[in-house]
């Protein structure tokens, strides 16, 4: 067999194991960091308690899912013991439920409960996108270099994130709800414009 061969033979190298563990730990820390960033200072309105619970459960169970990713499901047998059945059900629940989606919704909901703080929200947005990217790398055992083709798009996204925060800081033209809506429409138009520019930004370079 020629060419680049990644053998799955024998002992997995310590470096690979350390890399996988580091990626999982980074995912959990990023999730927890976003959660704390959005939750503080604590608020007690608009089902904030429920959102906090949802976010904590999502981050914790998502971390558990990543930690148990390599654990094999017990093989089928005609009459499995209650312990084996419970373990199989537990693994199914941990692996099938979209925990990270729940965590993202909970964290964004917590952020909404606070008064407007645009740069704080922008940092949270960067943290959330990093959290989702690291979770994906951890679950697919891919290296960080797998994100290299997306670097330009992520750069454009970061610029839009900053513009959105800037738009949030602009003083309203008038006291009515219409002026807030106007700012929102402006931000939406910005995203749409970025989408139109995107094919030129994300064009594949020859060396990719």
């Amino acid at each position: 067999m020629t060419g680049r061969l990644r053998a799955a033979v024998g002992v997995v190298s310590t470096r690979a194991v350390a890399g996988a563990v580091a990626m999982r730990v980074a995912a959990v820390l990023l999730g927890a960091g976003c959660l704390v960033w959005a939750a503080l200072p604590t608020v007690h309105r608009g089902y904030a308690g429920l959102a906090l619970t949802l976010a904590i459960a999502g981050v914790a169970a998502g971390g558990l899912r990543l930690a148990l990713a390599a654990v094999p499901v017990p093989s089928d047998s005609y009459w499995p013991s209650p312990g084996v059945r419970a373990w199989r059900t537990f693994l199914d629940v941990v692996r099938q439920v979209p925990w990270e989606e729940g965590a993202v919704i909970g964290i964004a909901w917590l952020e909404v409960q606070h008064p407007s703080r645009p740069w704080h929200t922008a940092v949270l947005g960067a943290g959330l996108i990093a959290y989702l990217l690291i979770v994906h790398l951890a679950e697919s055992d891919a290296p960080l270099a797998a994100l290299r083709p997306q670097a330009r798009v992520l750069g454009l996204g970061a610029a839009l994130l900053a513009l959105g925060a800037g738009a949030g800081m602009l003083p309203a033209a008038g006291p009515g709800a219409g002026s807030a809506l106007l700012r929102l429409v402006a931000a939406g138009a910005l995203i749409a414009a970025a989408g139109l520019v995107l094919p030129y930004v994300a064009r594949r370079r020859p060396q990719d």
Binding site: M1, L5, G10, G125, S140, V153, A167, R204
Partner: protein, 429 residues
């Protein structure tokens, strides 16, 4: 390692089922949640929060994805002994566009009684998985799952294929010595016979008769007796050995059950007798009948014998009758070595019938388990009755002149057979 060609590597074309990845669904959730909260709270910074996720999704939209792939899976061998390691090399070729943009991930789901050695997942267009079959039989290596991810990791193409099967041979036990009959057929071999001939084992001295070779003259004896004396040697003969494997009862722990031990013992015996230049055949007794392989010589016969034992398929029918077996399967004067737990009454009756027809037999008892011990008096009584019945079966066979030795599967077969390998075995008529 069994001498064998590597397994064939026919390419299999697979259709990919593309769907959005979990990563894409998570990005979509973040984007939609950001937009929803932006409109709900009239705060444009949340639209900015949604922007990177939506841009990533938009960038990966509409890419061409290969509809089909070709997978080539090649095991290093199609035959292996229990516990032996073998590798499966897999390679992928993408049919259609987008060949340079996809990342490939393999995942092996091992089949029954197949244990992976090392990781069961690998990345790249080519990969190697190492496995070890744990128990004899015709085994499926397992299922191979291939996942292709596009450049933006937003879509995943899945396909799976069944890997080819392998023949797992029972790990042979240790046996170096052989049981030799006292009366051997008139065929050249390596066992010293009682008749004199052209062998190398000294058997005696007799007076010279015209025609004797000069080099066989024993000068010391000739000087002592005053007449020419010549050395005589034992003739060297071979024997026919028929291994009789009872596959009607498989009791005991899987991996060391009666049938496991019978197959391992038969494999060891076949090897030992074939190394002694004997002709060895096998008869596998089962519910569906008896399958057989006529005695023959040569190293390949070991694998033919094991193949014959593995291919015997147990069904549910009336027991086999050895009277119907052809002469080639059970030659007259052959030594019959039986591997059986002696649990099936019909098999025991068949052994008695064979003994009465004059075959020289030796039974290796491979029963190493008993009914479970329970407290109730009825259970204890049943256990005692079972033991007495077993003793009676063995006693009746011994009375017929069939020696029985017990083998636990751990020690070398030479130990239980020692009493019969030291001197030629007499066949009582």
């Amino acid at each position: 390692m069994i001498p064998n060609r590597p397994g064939s590597s026919a390419a299999t074309e697979l259709e990919l089922r593309w769907r959005s990845s979990r990563h894409a669904r998570r990005l979509l959730t973040l984007g939609l949640a950001g937009l929803f909260f932006a409109f709900l709270a009239r705060r444009p910074e949340f639209a900015g929060l949604a922007a990177p996720a939506l841009l990533l999704l938009a960038a990966g939209r509409g890419r061409r994805r290969p509809p089909r792939i070709t997978v080539r899976a090649k095991p290093t061998t199609r035959r292996a002994f229990e516990g032996e390691r073998l590798a499966v090399d897999v390679a992928l070729h993408i049919i259609g566009d987008g060949t340079g943009e996809s990342s490939v991930r393999w995942r092996l789901h091992p089949g029954l009684e197949i244990a992976p050695v090392g990781a069961t997942a690998a990345d790249g267009r080519q990969a190697r998985f190492v496995i070890t079959p744990e128990r004899w039989g015709r085994r499926q290596i397992g299922t191979l799952e291939v996942t292709l991810r596009d450049r933006w990791r937003l879509a995943e193409g899945h396909a799976s294929m069944a890997l080819p099967g392998i023949d797992c041979y029972p790990a042979p036990a240790r046996q170096r010595t052989t049981v030799v009959l006292r009366r051997l057929p008139n065929r050249l071999g390596e066992h010293p016979a009682r008749t004199s001939g052209e062998g190398i084992e000294f058997s005696g001295v007799r007076e010279y008769v015209p025609g004797d070779r000069q080099r066989s003259i024993n000068w010391a004896a000739s000087t002592r007796r005053g007449r020419l004396q010549v050395n005589t040697f034992a003739a060297e003969r071979s024997q026919d050995v028929v291994l009789l494997v009872d596959s009607t009862s498989d009791v005991g722990e899987p991996g060391s059950s009666a049938l496991d031990l019978a197959l391992r013992g038969a494999g060891a015996a076949a090897r030992a007798y074939l190394e002694a230049r004997d002709r060895v055949g096998v008869i596998t007794y089962q519910w569906g009948g008896a399958s057989w392989l006529a005695p023959a010589l040569g190293r390949r016969q070991v694998y033919r014998i094991i193949d014959s034992m593995l291919s015997s398929d147990a069904g549910y029918a009336r027991g086999a009758s050895f009277a119907r077996l052809p002469r080639a399967a059970l030659p007259p004067g052959a030594l019959v070595v039986v591997f059986s737990p002696l649990l099936d009454q019909r098999f025991v009756e068949a052994l008695r019938d064979m003994r009465e027809r004059g075959f020289s037999m030796l039974v290796v008892d491979v029963l190493n388990t008993e009914p479970p011990a329970r407290r109730r008096p009825e259970d204890r009584m049943a256990r005692r009755l079972w033991r007495m019945e077993q003793e009676a079966i063995r006693f009746s066979l011994r009375e017929l002149g069939v020696p029985i030795v017990h083998w636990d599967g751990e020690e070398s077969l030479d130990l239980p057979l020692a009493a019969h390998t030291r001197r030629p075995m007499a066949a009582r008529r």
